[in-house]
């Protein structure tokens, strides 16, 4: 048995996972329209390569990555590009961002997935990385960081961690994927292991998902029997069920005993961590040439009639997905993208499934008034459950008092917003809300500071330019004066008024020319 370490804090939470694990992953019928945001990933928005009116087939590139940290977007249905316009992305405030809108034409010929090209040779790392980039693959665990950018670590990697922990209550999309497509997960893991040149690979599953672990082991056995040498260094490990065991840093700690440095990333301690869904997407891209156009989404919660897991085309309206799950049990429901601990409230169902959408949690809106927030009694329960060993109470005081500069030494930036502190708080203080508030205020200050710096530079450049123009103008004036004085050396100087007019014209031309 492999040795496991323990991360600090954490909580055992009621899983509520049975709700959605009853059936198989149900493919959702292609919606009438899909809305594909140009930015479904961390980093720069993709650049559209299609125009309104273009015919596209499923899997066709509609927006190309615009930077190293950016990701491609592909048509998730075959049809016609209607427009590229702003639509509400999954966001608590219903923020609008540009999306490629495609109207599906179901009967359309050529409804086949275009291939990304021939399978690259197993040893050709650059071609494999390019393939993963071209497939628009991002971290499907929720962080949506472009995977290709992650697969070029600047330090040697000894362990690849494939994360199938899925510790958050209610969510079962990774569980379903591991149970139904274990072979894809194993295959993708092997590809990735080769790419980061890791000596071993650990597929981690929480011990409340014995079926998933068993299916993965079977698939692994079959691959080893199939004669793959490298599969011997891959193992499936069950980790204790304790939220947030699936957090990247927590999982690295559990499996290797190493601590990812503050503000750092796992590669700094020789580990790369990839979600199981991402591994399966890599397998599809590398083996079958299929870009990322759909994902498994859990629709669950007490507010939905038929909870389950669905294979959903990216860009599908959330309302369509809810309808496919039998509709809601109450007139008014609250929608959360993600789980109850770390998920984000959605403003309405008039938004779409994106690469980050692992779960839509539906709960009836409570009619009774929520219990009041009481003062902090300094019990310290929050500090005991914090998986990062932060001092949630101190963070709370300073965030509440808007003393943002005092939060940095207390490590606010290292808070993963897991919500453990808020769950155990006997005074029901919305601690994570305070941390999110403070983090966004700090980010805003930083943004303002940067833009002020830019404005200062622009002003200085402008002042210097005006100064120079003035000098040049004076030099010209002096030269003209001198030229005029020579022939008229013995005559009297011209009156003031006559000299004034041409100068003004000169000044105007100078300004016009510069602007």
């Amino acid at each position: 048995m492999k040795r496991l370490w323990r991360f600090p804090g954490g909580l055992r939470l009621p899983g509520s996972k049975d709700l959605s694990t009853g059936g198989a992953i149900a493919p959702l019928a292609a919606p009438a329209r899909v809305y594909l945001p140009l930015r479904q990933h961390a980093g720069a928005a993709a650049k559209p390569v299609v125009q309104a009116g273009d015919r596209v087939v499923r899997g066709q590139l509609v927006a190309a990555p615009s930077a190293f940290v950016s990701a491609a977007v592909h048509a998730s249905v075959s049809g016609r590009v209607v427009e590229i316009s702003d639509h509400a992305i999954p966001h608590p405030a219903g923020i609008m961002e540009p999306c490629v809108v495609i109207e599906a034409e179901p009967g359309r010929a050529g409804d086949a997935t275009p291939s990304l090209g021939p399978v690259p040779a197993a040893g050709d790392m650059e071609a494999l990385r390019e393939r993963i980039r071209a497939a628009g693959i991002v971290g499907l665990g929720g962080a949506v960081f472009p995977s290709a950018a992650k697969l070029k670590p600047s330090r040697p990697i000894d362990t690849l961690v494939v994360n199938g922990v899925e510790c958050e209550p209610y969510i079962t999309c990774d569980d379903a994927l591991m149970r139904e497509r274990p072979e894809a997960v194993i295959h993708g893991s092997l590809v990735l292991m080769g790419m980061v040149e890791a000596g071993r690979c650990v597929v981690a599953v929480e011990d409340n998902k014995p079926q998933a672990a068993a299916r993965l082991r079977e698939a692994l056995k079959a691959v080893v029997a199939g004669g793959r040498q490298d599969a011997g260094t891959l193992e499936v490990v069950e980790v204790p069920t304790r939220f947030p065991a699936g957090g990247e840093k927590q999982l690295v700690r559990t499996l290797t005993g190493r601590e990812v440095p503050r503000g750092g990333l796992p590669y700094e301690v020789g580990v790369v961590c990839i979600n199981v869904g991402t591994a399966a997407a890599v397998a599809a891209a590398v083996r079958e040439g299929r870009p990322l156009t759909s994902r498994v989404v859990t629709v669950t919660g007490p507010g939905i009639r038929r909870p389950g897991n669905f294979e959903v085309a990216l860009g599908t309206p959330v309302a369509d997905l809810i309808e496919a799950a039998g509709g809601t049990t109450a007139e008014e429901v609250e929608l959360i993208m993600g789980g109850p601990m770390m998920g984000r409230r959605l403003e309405s169902d008039r938004t779409m499934v994106v690469k980050a959408t692992n779960c839509i949690l539906v709960t009836p809106v409570r009619t009774e008034r929520s219990e009041p927030v009481m003062p902090c009694i300094r019990c310290g329960a929050c500090a005991e459950v914090c998986p990062i060993n932060l001092l949630p109470q101190q963070l709370y005081w300073h965030a509440r008092g808007r003393s943002f500069d005092k939060l940095e030494p207390y490590g606010l930036a290292d808070c993963i917003e897991c919500g453990c502190c808020a769950v155990v708080c006997p005074s029901r203080i919305p601690l994570v809300d305070f941390y999110r508030f403070a983090k966004s205020e700090i980010a805003d200050q930083e943004r303002k500071r940067r833009s002020a710096e830019e404005s200062r530079a622009r002003t200085n450049a402008r002042n210097a330019r005006i100064e120079q123009q003035k000098r040049e103008q004076e030099a010209r004036k002096a030269a003209r004066k001198a030229a005029r004085r020579k022939p008229k050396a013995d005559k009297a100087e011209a009156p003031e008024g006559e000299k004034q007019a041409p100068q003004d014209g000169e000044a105007r031309r100078a300004v016009g020319g510069a602007s």
Binding site: R39, I89, H91, A93, I95, E97, S370, P372, V373, R400, P430, D433, F434, R436, F437, K439, S440, E441, D444, R447, K448, S451, A452, E453, E454, S455, R456, R458, T459, A461, R462, V511, G512, S515
Partner: protein, 186 residues
Amino acid sequence: MEVVLLTIIALLFGVGLGVAAIRLRVEKDPVVDQIDAILPQTQCGQCSFPGCRPYAEALAAGEADINQCPPGGDTGMRALADLLGKEPKPLAGGDGEASDPVPMVAVVDESTCIGCTKCLQVCPVDAIVGAPKQKHTIIEAHCTGCELCLPPLCPVPDCIVMVEVRPTAANWKWQYPLTAAGERVA
């Protein structure tokens, strides 16, 4: 004896200080830079000085008060009070409420712009693009919201107007989690 000794020590210190005053001399007033770093760089002139730097210089010289910068808002005023060791006070010309201004940018209505270039010449950050008798436009990312280009400078009524900065996923902020009554914000 003691008198001589003390005199020599005093002379040595005197020479040391004199040398230090020349060799370690600070050319620029660092306070001005510190103040300038706090100011929002809108270059709007609402402080009655012709830009942020001149206001910073006046503040450092004690010729201006800390509450003369409306774009900096309450936050900016408090930062200045902190830096200069002064008591915070409400912003001059404000409604007395401690708040920060909503970020705004200027927008040119290109259908009515006559291409007079007046706004091009006053824009302190060169955020306006245009040429004589050509439609002008404002680069939103560069506009500081200084309002210097608004009428009466712009000869066409309603051609340049101020609008709130559009909320995006990048600049959106979580609101304060509790209401004034101490209840959770829904």
